[in-house]
């Protein structure tokens, strides 16, 4: 627990006055927010939602503060970031629980969007959430033993706690520990486990949960119901993603998504990397829009670094230009593949991807790589625009892209088949969207015009004039239309940015190999093309982060998939999934 230092009296904050004794300000250096007593969590959260208007739970992070220090206690800390759906800054509060028996009340009753995030905290950290209806592992498989994100968990070929690893360059030669650890010997088994007698289980818990969910939908369980697995090997699930579906004829009565087939424990690797090494690593999250990932991470660490990492103006404009180009390229891909899911045999997908290729050419000219760009640095960007690129971007943005987007709009929007397949399918009400923590186009297509670029502006977005795209029907057709709208708004921003692009420096200071980040925590979020992409970084002064958590929009947007699909036909599941627009790199991390 934090020690209340015998400091001079300070004024109580508004929140402390409202909840005397329950809430205390978090006074650790570099930290923000309040600490709430663990047993009063539900009361506090209810009051937040009902009285103070904080109805959007954005992110739940679990941090493991393990110390060898005898004086300090080890504890788990759960960090909650709440927002108002009418805009504004975050309300951050934390719960601290003892490490040997981590139990906390679950927020699922109040904020259904907490569902997957609490399961992830259970899976990777071992924090039990009481009252959670379905606390199973989400990213690891069901029989896994251990909690991989804890600080005292070592993987089978553990080398060291932080990179650069000493044993990789003995005498200047590189070798990897896997070379000394042959295949088959790099496994770690729990006690009493015998691999030769182990039988594969078919994940019975999943099917039990499915049956329970089906019973909630309709009281009498018809024995004619079929359980079908869509995925993981399926041409239209946008990656290795699996949905266990219970069907009654053609209607879906229950759907449970199963993910984790691409889980790489990105967050633990992020803890091992130094801060600057994490920058190319974030490219691999949402691998289709790498610039946005970089942006979010850069914002988080720059918050920690303070003023000496403020980017110069040219760098800010370049960042915005790259982010908006990424948004356009991502939406082109999303629309193309939504049409693919609808059965249009790749033709609109190829037309859209053709435009995306031109954007990727620009990325390659500027950063050297098409997809894994690694462009942002703390305090600016890595490279300036080479000769002639600015003109190329201008041609693309001012002349070609508006024409091509209008063309796509002309072909697709009024098509009778698309309208009849997409209208009224997969409707999400705005209240549901906010409660289930949906973000990005999914939220805005349901009539909640919440765009972080306007609601809680970052970088220089408040200098641009653009509209927040919003649609008010909440079905698949609107989620398609809103992506077209957002592309047009991005073009507006790009035109303004290109006109105002100043000359000057692109990086604040020199380009360091290692950065010194002062201790503290920061949550940097950007409006990524798929939604709110947030990075929660905790630093303790060392060259590598203490905790590095990604608030992945695709992962949290999937919470509402079940509600969206139940009651619809099985032919619409793939269309619904395509309209949420997930990328497995982000979902599984």
């Amino acid at each position: 627990m934090t020690e209340q230092a015998a400091a001079p009296e300070r004024e109580l904050t508004a929140l402390e006055q409202r909840f005397p004794g329950v809430v205390t300000l978090d006074e650790r250096k570099g930290y923000e927010g309040h600490i709430v007593q663990a047993d009063k969590l539900i009361e506090f959260a209810t009051a937040l939602r009902d009285e103070m208007g904080y109805d959007y739970l954005s992110s739940i992070t679990a941090v493991d503060y393990l110390t060898d220090d005898e004086e300090a206690e080890s504890f788990f800390e759960l960090v909650y970031h709440m927002y108002k759906s009418t805009g504004g800054a975050a309300l951050v509060f934390k719960i601290q629980i003892p490490r040997d028996n981590p139990v906390v009340d679950s927020l699922v009753e109040l904020y259904p969007g907490a569902d997957f995030q609490e399961r992830e905290a259970w899976d990777l950290m071992g924090i039990k959430f009481e009252g959670h209806p379905d606390l199973r592992r989400i990213l690891m498989w069901d029989g896994f033993e251990g909690f991989p994100l804890r600080k005292d968990w070592k993987e089978p070929y553990y080398e060291e706690d932080a990179k650069p690893f000493g044993n990789r360059w003995p005498g200047g030669q590189v070798y990897r520990i896997e070379d000394k650890n042959p295949y088959g010997k790099n496994n770690q088994y729990p006690d009493g486990f015998d691999p030769s007698t182990w039988k594969e289980s078919e994940d019975p818990k999943l099917y039990e949960v499915l049956e329970k969910a089906a019973m909630e939908y309709s009281e009498d369980i018809d024995t004619e119901q079929v359980v079908v697995n869509l995925g993981p090997q399926h041409p239209s699930t946008h990656g290795v993603f699996r949905m266990a579906v219970r069907l009654d004829g053609e209607t879906i009565v229950a759907l449970k998504p199963v993910m984790g087939y691409l889980h790489r424990n990105h967050e633990q690797i992020g803890e091992r990397n130094t801060f600057i090494m994490n920058m190319p690593f974030t490219d691999r999250l949402d691998y289709l829009s790498s610039m946005s990932n970089n942006f979010g991470y850069a914002l988080a660490v720059e918050k920690l670094m303070g003023d000496k990492a403020t980017p110069p103006e040219r760098a800010e404009y370049l960042r915005v230009i790259m982010a908006e180009l990424t948004r356009i390229s991502n939406h082109l891909w999303a629309i193309g593949f939504l049409l693919n899911d609808l059965g249009a045999f790749f033709t609109p997908a190829l037309y859209a991807i053709e435009e995306r290729e031109l954007i990727l050419d620009i990325f390659e000219a500027v950063t050297g790589s098409r997809m894994m760009c690694n462009y942002f640095r703390f305090g600016g960007v890595a490279r300036d625009l080479p000769e002639g690129t600015e003109q190329k971007i201008k041609d693309l943005v001012l002349e070609r892209l508006p024409r091509k987007i209008d063309e796509l709009d002309l072909y697709l929007t009024e098509n009778e088949l698309i309208r009849s397949r997409c209208e009224g399918v997969g409707v999400i009400t705005p209240e549901d969207a906010i409660a289930y923590s949906a973000a990005g186009p999914v939220l805005r297509a349901s009539g909640v015009p919440y765009d972080i670029r306007k609601a809680d502006p970052y970088s220089i977005y408040d200098e641009f004039k653009f509209d927040v795209a919003a649609r008010y029907h909440g079905d698949v057709y609107d989620r398609y239309l809103i992506r077209v709208d957002e592309m047009r708004q991005s073009l507006r921003i790009l035109q303004q940015a290109l006109k105002k692009l100043p000359k000057g420096e692109i990086l604040n200071g020199k380009n360091p190999y290692q950065v010194r980040v002062p201790a503290g925590e920061a949550y940097g979020r950007v409006e990524g093309p798929k939604g709110e992409l947030g990075f929660y970084v905790v630093s303790n002064g060392k060259p590598n982060p203490w905790r590095y958590h990604v608030r992945a929009p695709s992962f949290i947007n999937l919470t509402i998939l079940e509600k969206m699909c139940v009651g619809q036909k099985v032919a619409d599941v793939v269309v619904n999934l395509g309209s949420i627009d997930i990328v497995l790199g982000e979902v599984d991390r």
Partner: protein, 395 residues
């Protein structure tokens, strides 16, 4: 006239001269000549599939702004041979719990059912497999074998996905048989005969000019019969992986594949024969080869329309598809039949024949469009928007 004038007759006479010295009874002679002509037709059918797949891939690629296969042979012409070789040398996996006999018969049946249609196709005034006087009825009957093969494939795979796919495929195919058959009546009505040769012989004025709407409805239902986009639920990759042929691999899958392409081309050929005058054209009576060329050219029109629709349209969901059929196409086709019958009776030999038919078709077309639009508007109105909220701004 020689070889170029009438190649088949030339080859036929030459073959007859070969077997004449054997002095076989005439029954044997007929049998042998039938056998050779049938082998010719069957081989033509199977070989043209190879060319058709190449055409499909190239044309679909051009729609998608790319080139299509162009490495295997000049212009990629040998691509289909390469694919066939690949499919033949693939392993033939049969699921253990599958019903082996039915599993193996299904692809054979699907190819046979399409090839049988070619028996009555008149390529030229004197070139046809056989001139049975119930040609149209025969085509309708034989086309239904293919549906049976789909159900056999789905059932015998012992796979939930395949079975669901097979049921829906069969539901789609038998539904679209109805408007197709009713529209097949229109050329029969106008030609007063069911035989294909007669229908072509009576087309001094192509039936597509006299009954354009019937041609369009026939083409739509026939494309749905084959299972092409936008009606390609049978093999919707996005939904139930590969539908009824999920469990097939190797050449058995190749047979389904070939049967589908041949079926589309057959639909094109039937469209050309029934509505576009078949082999008729300048000089076709004297040079049968020209007649065949005309027929092939006209059938590529139907085939091209099918490829065009496949490349540009998304898929229809099954309930929309069946509603489209039962609630729209069936009454529409009955209306077309009735109006065509009445107008044909009234104006048959007069000069006002063609304008009257065209006007009749136009009236039905506009009426059906109006009905569709009214239904769509009503559906659109049911989609209510949520309440507007103010844009979220930083406080």
């Amino acid at each position: 006239m020689g070889f170029l004038g009438d190649p088949i007759k030339f080859i036929g006479d030459w073959l007859k001269s070969l077997i004449a010295p054997l002095n076989l009874p005439p029954v044997w002679e007929t049998f042998l000549s039938t056998l050779t002509s049938v082998i010719a037709v069957a081989s033509f059918g199977l070989l043209i599939v190879i060319f058709l797949i190449w055409v499909e891939r190239k044309v679909a690629a051009r729609f998608q702004d790319r080139l299509g296969p162009n490495r295997a042979g000049k212009y990629g012409l040998l691509q289909t041979f390469a694919d066939m070789v690949k499919l033949i040398t693939k392993e033939d996996t049969t699921p253990e719990t599958a019903d082996k006999v039915v599993f193996n018969i299904a692809p054979v049946l699907s190819v046979v059912s399409v090839l049988l249609i070619w028996a009555v196709v008149p390529f030229a005034p004197t070139w046809f497999g056989t001139d049975i006087n119930v040609g149209v009825l025969y085509i309708a009957a034989v086309g239904s074998f293919g549906i049976l093969s789909i159900l056999m494939a789905g059932w015998s795979s012992n796979n939930k996905y395949a079975l669901l796919g097979a049921f829906r495929a069969v539901a789609q195919l038998i539904s679209y048989e109805v408007p197709m058959l009713i529209m097949l009546m229109v050329p029969v009505l106008l030609a007063s005969s069911m035989g294909m040769v007669d229908i072509v012989a009576r087309q001094d004025m192509w039936f597509i000019v006299v009954a354009p709407l019937a041609a369009v409805v026939f083409l739509i239902s026939a494309i749905a019969e084959v299972g092409r986009t936008p009606f390609d639920l049978l093999e919707a990759e996005s939904e139930i992986v590969a539908g009824f042929h999920t469990e097939y691999s190797g050449m058995k899958f190749g047979m389904f594949f070939a049967a589908e392409f041949l079926h589309i081309f057959t639909v094109g050929v039937l469209f050309a024969i029934l509505f576009m005058g078949g082999w008729r054209g300048p000089g076709a009576e004297q040079f049968p080869l020209l007649g065949m060329v005309y027929l092939m050219a006209k059938s590529t029109v139907g085939y091209f329309i099918a490829i065009w629709m496949r490349s540009t349209l998304p898929r229809i969901r099954i309930d929309h598809m069946l509603a489209f059929n039962w609630k729209f196409l069936v009454p529409l086709s009955l209306a077309i039949l009735i109006v065509t019958a009445i107008l044909h009776k009234l104006f048959a030999a007069t000069t006002l024949y063609i304008p009257a038919m065209l006007v009749g078709n136009l009236v039905i077309f506009l009426a059906s469009l109006g009905a569709l639009r009214a239904v769509a508007q009503r559906q659109r109105k049911q989609r209510k928007p949520f309440k507007k909220r103010p844009v979220a701004k930083a406080a």
